[in-house]
Symmetry: C2
Subunit: 177 residues, 2 copies
C-alpha cells in the first residue's frame, strides 16, 4: 500500500504492541477518526489478528461535510479554525467516541499534499488528537516528504498516540482498582 | 502496510484508474463501508493525490454494533444471515450511501482469519457489494492465503468493483444526456 511503502520494517509495530496490551484485559475498546491518513490507521489495527476483540471501527471523514455529519464537527470550527486544526482533531475524536462508544480514540487531520497548502498550513502539517476517559489532547506535527511519506508518518504517529492512550487508560484503571 | 505486503507491484492500480476517470468529470462522489478490509480500501483511494475531489469518506464498521449504529444494518440481517453475508454487504453500501450522500459506494465483509470461521463460512469468504444510482449488487469471493493475503485480495477486488461502478455510472450518465 502506498502510505507505508516508505516505512521501515519494524520489529515491534505499535499495532502489535496494542494487540498484546489489550488482549489479556477485557473491556477496553478503541476507534479511529481519520482524515489525511484515509483509513490507514484502522487498516493497520485490523491487520492484526485478534483486533476484533477491542477495535470497534473508524470513520474516514475526508470531506468536510463528512466531518460535520458523521463526527459532529461544528461549522464554526471548520469556518474559523479549518479542517486542518487542533480544534478539528479534538472534535473528531469526541465525535468518534460518541459514535462508537469507544474508550480510546485517535484522530488525524492534515495536509498530505501536494496540493492544499496555505501560508499558515504548509504541506506536512498534521494534527492528531487522542481521547481517553481522562480527557482529550491534541498535537501538531510537521512531517517531511511526499504524500506517501506524510501519510505514513501520520499513520505511524497516530498508532503510537493510540498505544500511549491505551497504556495510560489501563494504568489508570489499575491504580483506581 | 501489512494488508498489501503480499500484493504485486502494478503499473495501473485501480485507485489510479479511478482518479483518472473521475477527475475530469465533475459531480460524481464515492464512499466506502468496510469491515474485513479495515479501512484499506479508503486508504488506497486517499493515497492518490486528487482523490479529495470525489472521495467523501468511509465507515470502518468492524464490530457488529458499529454496523448497526453507523450503517443501519438491521438486527434481523445480523441474526439471520450474519455479518459475513451478501445481505449485510448490501445493507452496508446502502447505509454508507445515505450517511455520505455518495453516488457510488463499495463495501467489504468477510472472514480474514485465522479465527472466526464456521462450517458454512470458511476463512477467506468475503462478500463485496456495490451501490450505484442504478442499484445494488453483491458478490461472494473465496480468497486463499493468510490474513494479510485475504485482506489484500478483498481490498483489491473492492477497488476494482468500485472502479467498475464508477465507469458504469459515468457511461449511464453519458447515455442519458
Amino acid at each position: 500500500m502506498v502510505p507505508d511503502s516508505s516505512e521501515p520494517v519494524r520489529d515491534n509495530p505499535p499495532e502489535q504492541a496494542l494487540n498484546r496490551l489489550i488482549t489479556p484485559v477485557a473491556g477496553i475498546t478503541v476507534a479511529t477518526a481519520e482524515s489525511c491518513s484515509g483509513g490507514a490507521v484502522a487498516a493497520r489495527i485490523v491487520s492484526i489478528s485478534g483486533s476484533s476483540d477491542y477495535f470497534l471501527g473508524g470513520i474516514v471523514a475526508y470531506a468536510n461535510d463528512a466531518k460535520r455529519r458523521l463526527l459532529g464537527v461544528s461549522e464554526e470550527i471548520l469556518a474559523s479554525r479549518g479542517a486542518v486544526s487542533a480544534e478539528c482533531a479534538r472534535a473528531m475524536v469526541e465525535g468518534a467516541r460518541q459514535a462508537f462508544g469507544a474508550d480510546v480514540v485517535v484522530s488525524t487531520t492534515g495536509i498530505a499534499g501536494p496540493g492544499g497548502a496555505t501560508a499558515r498550513k504548509p504541506v506536512g502539517v498534521v494534527y492528531l488528537a487522542l481521547a481517553t476517559p481522562a480527557g482529550i489532547e491534541a498535537h501538531e506535527h510537521r512531517f517531511a516528504g511526499d504524500r506517501a511519506a506524510i501519510i505514513a508518518a501520520a499513520t505511524e504517529a497516530a498508532l503510537h498516540l493510540l498505544l500511549r492512550g491505551v497504556q495510560e487508560t489501563l494504568n489508570r484503571d489499575t491504580s483506581l482498582a
